[in-house]
Structure formats: structure tokens, C-alpha cells
């Protein structure tokens, strides 16, 4: 059954609902519920996209595609497999990787000449408005506690979309070492985050 959107229902009531319950409404075509989901996660989504693709236009495209796909395929969300936020950010991550793979094919060839790592390090952001998010701060702080070499491989893999062999080439480091650093770094992140990491599973 499709439920009608009730025009008399106060929007405030939607704000009290958990993400998972909102998704039940979204899959029935409830645009007001979708808007609440968007408001909750669009900053994290846009920040991730912007960090990965590095331009406002591309980041907007990525976020728009991701949220429209969420709207049109909400039924694919399975609460057994994680939070709505993890799911949304996973879609954004995949779309941004697609963009990177398309646009960087040639750049990657000369990556080592230009010090491509810098591209994925925190950029100067004079063109976007900063937003506050304590959880994001905590995660950034946790990442900073890692030894540089672990932090670098994780950032290149996650934000840059590079494979371990590409990273090994960029950093002139054996593949086994790169894999080991990824694993140790994630392990350490997990320790730093404590309960926060559990919330992501």
C-alpha cells in the first residue's frame, strides 16, 4: 500500500522520527520525510563529496545524484546492514569515486610528478562555508593521532580512490607495507574512536 502524504501532519513530528523510520516513509514516496533525511545528512554528504572531487560543481552533482538515487530506490536500504547515514555516505563515496576514476585517468599517469598526495590533503577552502559537526571533529582528531605514513595511505585510498598498488607506486613503498599500514591505521582509528566506531557498524 502506498500511504498518502498527510498535508495536516505537522512537519515537526517528522523531525522526531529516527532515520530508519523516515526511510519507511521515503520509500512510500513521502517527500517531506525525504527532506528531513536530506537536512540531516546533506552537510556530511557534501563535505565528503567536496573533499573527494575538489570542486563545488562536481560535489553538487555527486550529492544530487546520490540523494535522488536514495529517493528513487529507498527500498534498497536495509537497516540490518547499518545506519542510514552510513548508507547515504556510502552512496556518495561510490559516486565520487566514479567521478575521480573518470577525470583522473590521465592525471594519475603523472601523479608522482605533481605530488598528488597534496591534492587530497585538506585544501584551502575559501569558497565554501564551514559547518560545525562535533562528530566530524572527533573523527578528524582521531585520524590525526595516526602516524603520518598510516594516515597518508588511508586518506589516499578513501578520499583519493586510489588502489593499494597505485599508492605503493606513488609513495615508492612495497605493496605489502601499504596494506599493512592501512590495516594498522584502521585498527588504531578503531581504538581511538571507541564507542563511536561501534555506532558505525
Amino acid at each position: 500500500m502506498l500511504s498518502r502524504v498527510n498535508p495536516d501532519r505537522p512537519v515537526a513530528a517528522l523531525h522526531d522520527l529516527a532515520d530508519e523510520d523516515l526511510m519507511q516513509l521515503v520509500r512510500k514516496g513521502d517527500n517531506a520525510a525525504f527532506e528531513v533525511v536530506y537536512d540531516r545528512h546533506s552537510t556530511a554528504a557534501y563535505s565528503l563529496a567536496y573533499r573527494m572531487v575538489g570542486s563545488r560543481n562536481s560535489a553538487e552533482d555527486v550529492v544530487q545524484e546520490a540523494f535522488l538515487s536514495l529517493w528513487r530506490s529507498g527500498a534498497r536500504y536495509d537497516r540490518g546492514r547499518g545506519s542510514v547515514r552510513t548508507w547515504v555516505l556510502g552512496i556518495v563515496h561510490n559516486r565520487a569515486i566514479d567521478v575521480l576514476r573518470r577525470s583522473l585517468v590521465h592525471d594519475r599517469r603523472r601523479a608522482s610528478d605533481e605530488g598528488i598526495e597534496e591534492r587530497f590533503e585538506a585544501r584551502e577552502r575559501t569558497d565554501v562555508e564551514a559547518a560545525r559537526n562535533d562528530e566530524a571533529r572527533e573523527l578528524q582528531a582521531a585520524l590525526k593521532t595516526l602516524p603520518d605514513e598510516q594516515c597518508r595511505v588511508i586518506e589516499l585510498a578513501y578520499f583519493g580512490g586510489f588502489s593499494h598498488s597505485e599508492i605503493a607506486e606513488l609513495l615508492e613503498t612495497p605493496i605489502g607495507t601499504v596494506k599493512g599500514r592501512m590495516r594498522l591505521g584502521l585498527e588504531k582509528m578503531r581504538g581511538q574512536l571507541g564507542g563511536l566506531a561501534e555506532a558505525w557498524t
Binding site: 502506498l2 502524504v5 521515503v26 512510500k28 514516496g29 517527500n31 525525504f34 536530506y38 546533506s42 552537510t43 556530511a44 557534501y46 563535505s47 562536481s58 560535489a59 553538487e60 550529492v63 544530487q64 545524484e65 535522488l68 529517493w71 528513487r72 527500498a75 534498497r76 552510513t86 555516505l89 556510502g90 556518495v92 569515486i97 573518470r102 585538506a122 565554501v128 564551514a130 559547518a131 559537526n133 562528530e135 573523527l139 578528524q140 585510498a157 578513501y158 578520499f159 586510489f162 588502489s163 593499494h164 598498488s165 599508492i167 605489502g176 601499504v178 596494506k179 592501512m182 590495516r183 594498522l184 591505521g185 584502521l186 582509528m189 578503531r190 574512536l193 566506531a197 558505525w200 557498524t201
Partner: protein, 228 residues
């Protein structure tokens, strides 16, 4: 940490950093190795949490406006479809409906009510170019209007696909398999208009007839092909 020799791959896998073939091999190994399963379960949370480990920046309000315009118009079509959209469907179609959510309902709704799916939020100020598409249906024409990175498809003189089917839009880059553009449509009095979305890096826009709800890959040959 695991004592299994494949455990070294767990971190790279969680970060999506294994190459395709290697990822497949590790996933195959994961099916049977409890040690590696546990390791992956541990490392997945911090890997997923990386999504937030970056400076937070506010998305522009115009982005929300654009997204909500599309969402609201689609929701409106769903509501307009009313009881028709609630009509019980055959078991097979029903499963598809459940899997694909509003779009499938929208397609069904459109077939029932006979209205055009696809509302375009035209970006202002950008130059638009128009590409005439090849259409296999006699008497029909199709044009793709490209503004910046975004495209809109317009058809005239088209017949609707067979009952239980909709037109689905695909985008193709180079020789790679076509990807769904996330747009389904039908026509009214031969006319239809649909937003294709971003066509950055896209070589071709195509349209095929697909079972209501759309498909993940084309199941018939293109009715419309446009080189963009």
C-alpha cells in the same frame, strides 16, 4: 588481528583499495575464513567513519532547492496516481515494485494516469545545445538539450511502450556498459520530456523499453540514441 595470511588484505578491502580481481579473490576467501570475517567486521567501522573525517562545509541552498523540486514533482505524480498506484500487481511485478520504490510506483502511476514523468529544473544562464537523436520508430523525433553538464530529453511522435513497460534512459561512456540515468518515462499524445541528469563525460544517451520499474541493464535494443 588474524593469524591468517590473507588478513593483511582486510584493511585495504575495507577501504575499497583492492584491485578488482584481488577484491574478488579476497571476498571468495572471506566466505570460508572466520578469522578474516572477524577482522573485516572490526575494520569496516573505522573505514566507513572516514566519511566524516574531513572538514565540514555547508552545501549551497540552491542544491537543496534543485533536489527538492525534482522530489516534490515526483511525489506529486505519485499522489495524483491515487488508487491506481495502490492497485495490487502480479507477484512478479510486485517484487520489482518493492525493490525499486517510488520510481516503479511512478512508472505505474504514469501508465495509469497518462501523464508525463520528468520535470526539469532548467538551470538559468547557461548556454544550451541541442542534439538531434536517432530514433528507430517511424515518425518519431527526439532531441537532447544539454545545458552545462545537464541534459534533458524531449520526444515527439512517440508511441508508448507495450503495456507493463516504460521507457528507460541510459547513459554510456566510451565502450563501457550503459548505466541507468535513473529516469523512466512514458509519453502523452506522443510527447514526453525527461531530465537525464549529469552527462559529464558521457558519450551517448539512449532509451530502451523496459518492464515497469526499470532495469539495471538494458533488456532491449535502443529506440533512441543520441551522441552528446
Amino acid at each position: 588481528m588474524t593469524g591468517c595470511q590473507h588478513g593483511i588484505n582486510a584493511g585495504a578491502w575495507a577501504l575499497g583499495a583492492l584491485d578488482g580481481r584481488e577484491a574478488a579473490a579476497f571476498e571468495e576467501h572471506l566466505r570460508t575464513c572466520a578469522q578474516c570475517q572477524a577482522e573485516v567486521a572490526r575494520l569496516r567501522a573505522p573505514a566507513d567513519a572516514m566519511a566524516l573525517a574531513t572538514e565540514q562545509v555547508a552545501p549551497p541552498a540552491a542544491l537543496k532547492d534543485r533536489i527538492m523540486r525534482t522530489v516534490e514533482s515526483e511525489a506529486q505524480l505519485l499522489r495524483a496516481a491515487g488508487p491506481e498506484a495502490d492497485r495490487p500487481q502480479p507477484a512478479r511485478a510486485r517484487r520489482r515494485f518493492l525493490r525499486t520504490g517510488p520510481v516503479a510506483a511512478l512508472a505505474a502511476a504514469t501508465l495509469a494516469v497518462g501523464i508525463i514523468v520528468g520535470v526539469l529544473a532548467a538551470p538559468g544562464g547557461e548556454s544550451t545545445r541541442t542534439v538531434r537523436a536517432q530514433v528507430t520508430m517511424a515518425g518519431a523525433t527526439a532531441t537532447v538539450h544539454v545545458s552545462g553538464d545537464r541534459a534533458r530529453l524531449e520526444v515527439r511522435g512517440m508511441r508508448n511502450p507495450p503495456p507493463g513497460h516504460v521507457y528507460e534512459v541510459w547513459i554510456q561512456r566510451g565502450k563501457r556498459p550503459p548505466q541507468p540515468a535513473g529516469a523512466l518515462f512514458t509519453v502523452l499524445h506522443g510527447r514526453g520530456e525527461v531530465e537525464v541528469g549529469s552527462v559529464k563525460g558521457v558519450d551517448r544517451v539512449m532509451v530502451t523499453s523496459e518492464p515497469a520499474g526499470g532495469s539495471a541493464a538494458p533488456t532491449s535494443s535502443p529506440v533512441i540514441t543520441a551522441a552528446v
